[in-house]
């Protein structure tokens, strides 16, 4: 399974686009456009608008997420921004501030 991993000490300032899964353990600023899954792991910091299929946030995300399938904010995850997805899961312990729109 092809995978893009942004390591912990990496800072990307720009746009990321792809057709495969993306795992962010570092810092991404800008914009993320994926056709697959996005996973922001613990320690990952994303300041971007995200457009993806699935999104799993265990790190910090500041920006809007638009998912075509599902967004999950797990415990320990922190999100500030709008969510737009048909399915949303916000786990206990997660931090979230923003709008939720499930009417895709």
């Amino acid at each position: 399974m092809a995978n893009t991993v942004i390591g912990a000490s990496i800072v990307i300032d720009g746009e990321i686009s792809g057709e495969e899964d993306l795992i962010v353990r570092g810092t991404v600023k800008g914009r993320i456009t994926l056709r697959e899954n996005l996973s922001v792991e613990q320690g990952g910091v994303v300041e971007a608008d995200i457009e993806t299929q699935n999104a799993t946030v265990s790190g910090q995300v500041t920006g809007n997420i638009m998912a075509s399938e599902r967004v999950e904010i797990s415990a320990g995850g922190k999100m500030v921004g709008d969510l737009k997805a048909p399915r949303i899961l916000i786990a206990d312990g997660a931090t979230f501030k923003g709008n939720v729109d499930m009417d895709v």
Binding site: A2, T4, G7, G14, E15, I16, G18
Partner: protein
């Protein structure tokens, strides 16, 4: 313990700056600037259109941009690079493609040792026997070869002593000219009559037009070529006397 590695997957494209402190493997596309203090590996499917500053870089894919490495740059067999390399160690494998400059730091240019040339003999044609002959010809006024046919056959026989050559063309010109020359060199005055134009031996009505350019005269006004110029009038109108005669 595997070091953390960042992987840009084959279907991923990153446009922007990448900075970090860990290894980076690019299978996809990166555009922008890459600054990593570790090793950058560009796989065969990777395309990097960026200026790269890394420690080591191993290029198996395509790189368009300048690469600055603090340790080494390695372009492998299937690597292609267009751009400048600046690194202390550079390896380009056989089969790789590269276009650009390579700067490996201070490289002393190798100087070829000066070869000891054999003593140079003056080239002489096998026919030239009298060595002073060219010198004599230079002493004679070179500007206009003498028209007299008498001098030419005199010059041709090579055994002729040079005296035949010198007096034959311009015996009177010599005294007229020789004081003139130092004057010309010492003083640059617009001379009303230039020595080369007044040829006492050739009172031709048509002075050579080529000479006139030295005085810048219009073609219409021709100086009187007939009279030999005395030294004094050759000095400028302002009646200034300048080193006409050699003092002492």
């Amino acid at each position: 313990m595997a070091e953390p590695t960042t992987i840009i997957g084959e279907l991923t494209s990153v446009q922007g700056n990448i900075q970090g402190d860990e290894d980076l493997v690019v299978l996809g596309r990166v555009e922008g600037i890459v600054q990593i203090d570790r090793t950058l590996v560009i796989e065969p499917s990777g395309v990097v259109k960026a200026d790269v500053s890394v420690r080591n870089v191993m290029i198996n894919g395509v790189v368009v941009g300048n690469v600055t490495a603090t340790e080494s740059v390695h372009i492998a067999v299937d690597g292609k690079m267009v751009g400048d390399i600046s690194a202390p160690r550079v390896v380009i494998a056989d089969g790789a493609m590269f276009r650009g400059k390579v700067d490996m730091g201070d490289v002393e240019p190798v100087r070829a040792e000066p070869t000891q040339k054999p003593e140079q003999q003056p080239r002489r044609s096998p026919f030239a026997r009298s060595i002073p002959q060219p010198a004599r010809l230079a002493a004679a006024p070179p500007r206009r070869p003498p028209v007299e046919p008498a001098s030419e056959p005199a010059r041709r026989p090579l055994q002729n002593p040079p005296e035949d050559v010198k007096p034959a063309p311009t015996p009177s010109r010599k005294p007229a000219n020789s004081p003139a020359r130092p004057d010309e060199e010492a003083v640059k005055f617009p001379e009303p009559v230039t020595p080369e134009e007044t040829r006492p031996l050739e009172p031709s009505a048509v002075p050579p037009p080529a000479k006139r350019r030295r005085t810048g005269r219009p073609p219409g006004s021709e100086p009187v070529p007939v009279e030999p110029p005395p030294p004094k009038p050759r000095i400028a109108v302002g009646k200034r006397r300048v080193s006409v005669r050699k003092k002492g």
